[in-house]
Subunit: 516 residues, 2 copies
């Protein structure tokens, strides 16, 4: 498949000449020109960074091997389905009991439109994509401290915030309070804009009428035949809108990383890892737990044991090494690198994150509440309830993401629980938002990333200070070793970061090989 | 299929008790209780209103027939694919030359999440749905009078409008100009909200930095490895934002009718009409052009001729008639109804609308510009360019909606052209937005609804005055005749309006039959 799709070169030329280009760092398929003269590369880790490296290096003429800790490709590119088991650090083993066709992506679960490298690999590798719905106007925003704890429709919160802001600014404009800073002509246009965008009436008021209802929704929708006329709903006042603090969720939907159009692979995120493995699977030694990484002037020697039945230490030798092992684990290994790189490896903590998948007897969120995909947000410890973006409008079972935690204390609390307790808590809290949980819940599975043996955390959690001090040292080629992975990117936790870091690393590695 | 899906009754109970219900007029599958004692109903038109009526009336025990003008079911629920031909009023015949799998929906093309009746029929009839992407942050907004005619990314327009509005209101707040109307406590929260939602910096300014770039996009995206750090982009100033008038497109994305999550049937909108026809196809006489509708105290007699080979007039008699013939055509037929209903039928003009589908050699909007689905807006005569919401990220050909006109003069102008000229103009104007049109265009097809023989317009175009004077008269049962269709609803042009009007009409008809 690779390289057979026409038009990639033409495409990036067109992007640039249009001036409308995606501003991605990805400039199309990497070209590793020049003869590596049979040089060998050992890749550590068969996640997306490792498999991207292996795929492109083999294509460029290198002899490539991959050592992978897990018994499957993909790393954090991972999907749990019925029949899968997962044993976390501490020994708790879970069996996933989801119905056939339903799944949880414990790791990455969405792909922004501007992640051009990942999308190009999906295209070249034939991974079918479907939309991931981040913003659902009919999903819920919930705070235990607002509206007596009753969830609000996102559309109403959004319309009321915009409407009240617009009315406030329109009033100020009409009172002449902008005269010093905004021209009269612009003030006129501003009033038009506020009226249009804020759903204001002719008097620039945001009120209960069919204008505001066209955005926040109706008490009674328009219908057909006799008695078909709609009835408007009642907007929430400025003070209550502000004090609810539900406005804080609105920014997320406009964030570059979460803007429409987002994608997910049809059938689960691991379809990407599997597609890569179709290309490079023959290079991967699975269940290989790396125990030591040595290098000298002539090459790299990596020791490993069988991860499932640790016994005799085995060794692989290669001219070069692309190491994608997460820093949490790499920092614990004997490793021959410079003090600067070692300091960098030791400097980056990994974010805590917990995801909990819950299966229900029926898709009540769609059937009862017309919520199709997207995410409800709450200040309850579960933080989010994400509805499946597949099998829309079908009868039968469904799997929700019943909790997605990623801030510190909250995640640590859930990480400390047993998996069964995590699931029970997710059901308990979720029932506050959706009372149907109580009668419809069937089973669940919980992944706390700090307890996931192959990564011991969710992703590299760089602070500005750490990045300033260590990032460049982490990314330099150190002798015959170069690191790659989301931790070696400015896109932590994103698959695009893993791929771009790999392309950058192997590009520099190849330059060095060809030049020396 | 119908009625075999469990849970519909439970579902609507749950909706009500939650207080989170969709405010739809649809209360679940209609229950026509009581024995119609063999009464017969003649349904005129096999669009969604007609087929809904036929399906439910037969189920309730009626003897049902349908007369349909076209040689296919669905009416405006219609999809054009390669090999299809279409002859418009005036005699121009077009052959659709789209590649297999590509299509144009000349009529309805999207389904809002709150169109509960339509979604329930899709579910009961097994019509697979996929998301229709209305809002694409990476699509373009374009005005010939703004930014030297250069299209702007929607995300940038949105971020800049919000940012500038937020900065303006924050300044006013800090200057104490809200002190009379907003409490100090609320002002504090307002400032926090404006900063969060408007992407303001610590000083409440909207500036070129990594805060605004997180919404409007970067000059250089974050990358991987060395030199991975992002570079912010330059926001547009308040005055230019306002004068561009591109803000006027923002409201549409938040409109109740166009909010996420929207749907389209997988494979084309006519999958719905076809699914209905699987249920009621045996009742339909196709190519039947109604020429007269008579009624007396005992029943209804409808005369028709073969639409393709008009010859001898034939007649059908039934106890009752549900007439879904568009008012444009019904107003021209001899029809025995009250003066009040006749006036109503004559009172409603039909909206003009033109849709043009264009096939291109490759999906350059995705490949070159990272635009996946959604709609670009322009003040050029084409008004919109809508990108296909299927086959995302695939290599190969694609079909755009190259023009969607629905305001008067503009639509009339295109309606007056020959189909070939419409297509040529769509390509010419579209090339202003996407220069790739010139080298990539292959073929197109244009549907001007005022020239579509079976409806002579897009949909019933009610004014408030016309509705006040005539709507109830249009919807009353007149002797043995009742009208249905989107024109007999408060949801003109929407399929939901057609179905809800049919359910309302047959409900009242059934009451009368059972009571008499």
């Amino acid at each position: 498949m690779i390289g057979t799709v026409a038009g990639s070169a033409a495409m990036y030329h067109a992007m640039t000449s249009l001036g409308l280009a995606s501003e991605s760092r990805y400039k199309g398929p990497i070209r590793l020109e020049g003869d590596p003269k049979g040089a060998s590369v050992l890749v550590l880790g068969a996640g997306l960074a490792g498999m991207t490296s292996a795929l492109e290096l083999r294509k460029a003429g290198y002899t490539v091997q991959i050592l992978e800790f897990n018994g499957r490709p993909g790393g954090r590119n991972w999907t749990l389905r019925g029949g899968d088991t997962f044993t976390e650090l501490g020994g708790h083993k879970q069996l996933c009991e989801f119905e056939d066709g339903l799944y949880l992506n414990p790791g990455p679960w969405r792909i922004p439109y501007h992640h051009r490298a990942l999308l190009d690999y999906c295209r070249r590798l034939g991974v079918a994509l479907e939309p991931f719905n981040q913003l659902n106007h009919n999903a819920l925003l919930h705070s235990v401290r607002a509206f007596d704890g009753k969830p609000q429709r996102l559309r109403a919160v959004k319309a009321d915030f915009q409407g009240q802001i617009a009315e406030l600014l329109a009033k100020v404009t009409q009172q002449g309070k902008l005269d010093e800073t905004v021209s009269k002509e612009d003030q006129e246009i501003l009033l038009q804009a506020l009226r249009s965008w804020g759903a204001l009436d002719n008097g620039y008021g945001y009120k209960a009428n069919l204008i505001s209802a066209e955005f926040r929704g109706y008490t009674r929708d328009p219908g057909g035949g006799l008695t078909a006329m709609p009835e408007p709903s009642e907007p929430v006042g400025l003070s209550e809108v502000l004090k609810s603090r539900l406005w804080r969720y609105l920014r997320g939907f406009a964030h570059y990383n979460f803007q429409t159009t987002m994608f997910q692979p049809v059938g689960g995120m691991d379809m990407i890892g599997k597609a890569f493995a179709k290309e490079v699977g023959d290079l991967i030694r699975y269940n290989a737990k790396v125990t030591q990484i040595q290098q000298d002037a002539r090459g790299v020697t990596v020791s490993y044991v069988d991860a499932k039945h640790p016994g005799a230490v085995q060794q692989v030798h290669a001219d070069w090494c692309v190491c994608t092992i997460p820093l949490t684990i790499l920092s614990q290994l004997p490793l021959d690198v410079s003090a600067a790189m070692k300091s960098a490896i030791d400097a980056v903590p990994y974010a805590a994150s917990v995801k909990i998948g819950l299966q229900f007897k029926r898709r009540f969120w769609e059937e009862d509440e017309a919520i199709y995909g997207g995410i409800s947000y709450t200040d309850l410890p579960i933080r989010q309830i994400a509805y499946p973006n597949y099998h829309y409008n079908r009868a039968g079972r469904g799997v929700l993401l019943g909790a997605y935690l990623f801030d510190g204390p909250n995640s640590y609390e859930f990480t400390a629980m047993s998996p069964a307790e995590r699931v029970a808590r997710a059901v308990e809290f979720g029932a506050v938002i959706h009372p149907q949980y109580k009668s419809e819940f069937e089973n669940g599975i919980a992944v706390a990333w700090h307890r996931v043996p192959f990564v011991l955390g969710c992703s590299g959690d760089w602070s500005d200070e750490t990045r300033a001090a260590h990032y460049n040292n982490l990314c330099q080629i150190d002798g015959r070793i170069v690191l790659a992975g989301e931790h070696a990117s400015a896109l932590p936790a994103w698959q695009e970061g893993a791929i771009l870091s790999a392309l950058d690393a192997i590009g520099r590695l190849h330059d060095r090989v060809v030049r020396t």
